[in-house]
Amino acid sequence: MPRLTLKGLGKAYGPLKVVDNVDLTLEEGEFVSLLGPSGCGKTTTLRMIAGFIEPTEGSITMNGEVLSAPGAVLPPERRRMSMIFQSYAIWPNMTVAENVGFGLKLQKLPGAEVKARIGRILEVVKMSHLADRYPAELSGGQQQRVALARAIVVQPSVLLLDEPLSNLDANLREEMRFEIRRLHDEFRITTVYVTHDQAEAMATADRIAVMNAGRIEQVDAPHLIYTRPRTRFVAAFIGRTNLLEGRLANGEIGLDGFALRAAQLGGAVPDSARPILLSVRPQSMALHRTPPVAREGHPLLPATVSQRTYLGESWDYVVRPQESGLQLRVTAPPLQVHEVGEKVWLEFDPQQIAVVN
């Protein structure tokens, strides 16, 4: 039975639609990330789930019970959810243990159990030795762990995270990413995680909902979001890509100067006369100094290197196929060095090319 359902959810401030017709269903124990650029409505969506914002359209239901609808919003304190905030919102006037125990005490649990559960969760987040500290005496990462413990210890029906790592430095962010995923694997709490950082979403989520301009563009597992982007926005927002326009004719997609066999592309190709858009990831092409052995369905084009950038983990080349006006970004391993102006052979892997709308 699906736990949390957003149906036609919308929020408008006057004529401005911040969230527009969002449909999303979370299964029990699922971890979904709302990913999108700033201003795409992801935080508003999250705050509607929490009950801090009243929707102007649609509804939010939990196991069939309506939590939010226009004019009827169950207040946040009655939703049995918990949330981790961008500012952590650790109460500076309480110790770590008091912060963590706050929600438990509100549930009127017996003192002994409160104490036991605080102890257990602090162990899980490796903060036991700091239980009596005040937040001002903690580092940013430690405060983050307190926020995590405080949110998880109440065993919420849904855990909400609002850009929880954006105030941490890069190393700590990576560490906390795995920590959040580890805690989810341990407790299997249904989770909604808002972020603008795709690496964060990829590392933590079971499914990613990419949002843009108030709408959900695509909901899929992280690797499908990357390899099978369904819209132009998703293809361009997640990772880097080359967007090529082509036309379908006789089972072949004609591009500028060459063609690909439609049947060999990963995913279905819409059968229409309109131009179709292909997303070709820089990793889905290879560069060769001499023509390699031709493989069935892997088009091979002569091309010229026009720019190059060394990024440490890889080379980023811009190549121009001959008899074509296209400029393609291609990624190559660090040892594969080509000079600008060099003639190369460009090989496509149709399996990795996605058709986008």
Binding site: P75, R79, S82, A89, W91, L106, Q107, L160
Partner: protein, 582 residues
């Protein structure tokens, strides 16, 4: 809010049939009711007295018929117009003196390696918390033309009979006022200087400017808006000041607006004329505050890059001792010397006989505490009026601040505006407004404690509001949301999370209001009755009687009470809780 679950459980069809009115009633949360109450309180405290002041100025005494004769009377005599001119000149002169006192001190404390910064800070603080009229009494003892200590010392040293300094002069009056208002400019300028990083000056240095050129071309222009803002505030404080002009100006026959207003209140009370005569004070204040807002809003002046850029003190070499000498000089004039002579006089049988064992007595204090009919009552009055006013002001202020900051009701900012409005109303004008609105029947509050408490509450509401609003805004809304999502309702959240987080600053705000209310003279002097005299008013009465030993002893008591409160405040709310700029 509590019934939303019940509504949620109802069938959708029924829900849809609910009329718009019912739905709106459901949203009439307690906070909306509170909003209505607060609007009523603010109208009562702020809008009605000022409105009444305006109306009364056009009313004929007794009949209430419309007339312009009050204005004709108020501006029809050269003496009254001269008082207006005197006030403006006095304001300008004390602002000038204040700048001369404050700016070098602020620069020294903020930017240089001058020693004795703690001492300088203490002197500024002392000048700030010492009631101006006490300083005025001190300076009468120091610089009275015949018997003042400075003049006595001068003629003893040189044999010249003519006095060196005379406090009963226009310059003397302006100087004494400036010695207690310069801390305002100090606070403004120091906080502006604190925001300028050394890199600003480094950037000028690297392009070839020396220390002095960098200061002249870069540092000072950057703090110029702060200096100007400080000048405006001191100017307004001065023209609205009653105590010092009354104590020094009346014997010196220097008439200013506030002392003239006081004379309109002498029997027979002509409140209508006073109202008409108070209008320029109100208009000048509103106008100057508007000018200040405009000046400070101009872009390009403010270099508030916030953090970034280290701050190094400028090395002054030998000059730092010269600068310290200047700070000590100002501190001596404003705090040490007046305080010393006041204390001496308070323990003396006759203050003019100087320090000697035979002149020593505790009788001045004993007389006040055990034999004077009003002294103890006035101390008690002062304490409880101030406490009541501070409590009322902080409660109203924190409710308004919370509602405004959390946007709990539409048009909440109108509340904030009302709460800040007394800021542009001089205390003396406020008092006349209260007198006009509430002294006479049907309200008939004249001579009651309530009218003084209400006037104090209204007068110091902006201080409490600025303080509360900063406190509430410092609590991130997510702090409250974190509690709510874990199951805490709004009220529980306010009690368990918000209240503990803001309580310290609220106590600080309460103490500030208490302290300024306990020494407030200009609002009180118009509203006290025979049984509701406060210490400040009684002190003024004593000064009219001319018994300086008893007067000094009473000042000592007032100062002791203030110091205890300041000490409590520093303990609870931090060292600079009174001097923070907000």
């Amino acid at each position: 809010m509590t019934d939303s679950a019940a509504i949620l459980a109802k069938p959708a069809a029924l829900e849809a049939r609910r009329s718009g009115l019912l739905r709106r009633l459901r949203y009439l949360e307690p906070s909306n009711l509170l909003w209505v109450l607060l609007v009523a309180a603010l109208l009562f405290l702020v809008a009605v007295p000022i409105g009444k002041l305006l109306i009364v100025s056009f009313e004929e005494q007794g009949t209430g018929a419309f007339t312009l004769s009050n204005y004709a009377t108020a501006y029809g005599r050269a003496r009254y117009l001269e008082a207006l001119g005197n006030s403006l000149m006095l304001g300008a002169l004390s602002s000038l003196f204040s700048v001369v006192f404050a700016v070098p001190m602020a620069w020294a404390v903020s930017r240089t390696d001058m020693p004795g910064k703690g001492f300088t800070w203490a002197m500024v603080m002392g000048a700030f918390i010492m009631p101006p009229y006490l300083g005025a009494v001190g300076w009468i003892l120091l610089a009275g033309p015949n018997s003042g200590f400075l003049n006595q010392a001068w003629s003893w040293l040189t044999g010249i009979e003519a006095p060196l300094v005379n406090v009963y002069s226009f310059t003397g009056l302006a100087l004494v006022i400036a010695l207690h208002s310069f801390p305002l400019i100090f606070i403004f300028v120091k906080s502006a200087l604190d925001l300028i990083s050394s890199e600003m000056e480094d950037a000028a240095n690297i392009l070839g400017a020396g220390t002095l050129t960098a200061m002249r071309k870069v540092t000072l222009p950057l703090v110029w808006p702060a200096v100007l803002g400080g000048i405006i505030v001191v100017f307004l404080e001065t023209v609205a000041l009653f105590g010092t002009p009354a104590i020094i100006g009346i014997p010196a026959r220097i008439n200013v607006v506030t002392t003239q207003l006081w004379q309109f209140f002498e029997y027979p009370v002509r409140v209508e004329v006073a109202a008409a005569y108070a209008m320029p004070l109100l208009l000048i204040t509103i106008g100057m505050i508007a000018v200040q807002k405009l000046l400070l809003a101009r872009k390009g002046f403010v270099s508030q890059t916030g953090k970034g850029g280290e701050r190094r003190p400028i090395r002054l070499g030998g000059w730092r001792w010269a600068l310290l000498g200047y700070c000590v000089f100002v501190g001596a004039l404003s705090v040490l010397m007046p305080l010393a002579v006041l204390l001496q006089a308070s323990f003396a049988k006759a203050w003019g006989r100087g320090l000697s064992f035979s002149n020593l007595t505790l009788d001045n204090y004993a007389y006040l505490l055990f034999r004077h009919e009003m002294a103890l009552t006035s101390i008690w009055n002062t304490l409880w009026f101030s406490a009541a006013a501070a409590t009322a002001a902080v409660i109203i202020a924190v409710l308004v601040a919370y509602i405004v900051a959390r946007r709990l009701v539409p048009f909440g900012s109108a509340l904030g505006f009302l709460a800040m409005a007394p800021f542009v109303i001089p205390g003396i004008v406020m008092a006349i407004g209260f007198y006009a609105a509430y002294a006479a029947p049907p309200v008939a509050l004249y001579g009651t404690a309530l009218i003084i408490i209400l006037a104090f509450t209204a007068r110091f509401l902006p201080i409490a509001f600025a303080n509360s609003s900063a406190a509430v805004r410092a609590v991130h809304p997510e702090m409250e949301e974190a509690s709510r999502i874990l199951g805490g309702g709004r009220l529980l959240t306010i009690r368990r999370i918000t209240a503990p987080l803001i309580s310290r600053s609220l106590i600080g705000g309460w103490l500030i209001v208490f302290i300024v209310a306990s020494r407030e003279l200009s609002a009180a002097v118009f509203l006290v009755g025979p049984r509701t005299r406060t210490m400040a008013v009684l002190l003024y009465d004593l000064s009219e009687a001319g018994n300086f030993e008893v007067l000094a002893a009473f000042g000592g008591l007032l100062l002791a009470i203030t110091l205890v409160l300041v000490a409590i405040g520093m303990k609870l709310a931090g060292r600079d809780f009174m001097l923070r700029r907000n």
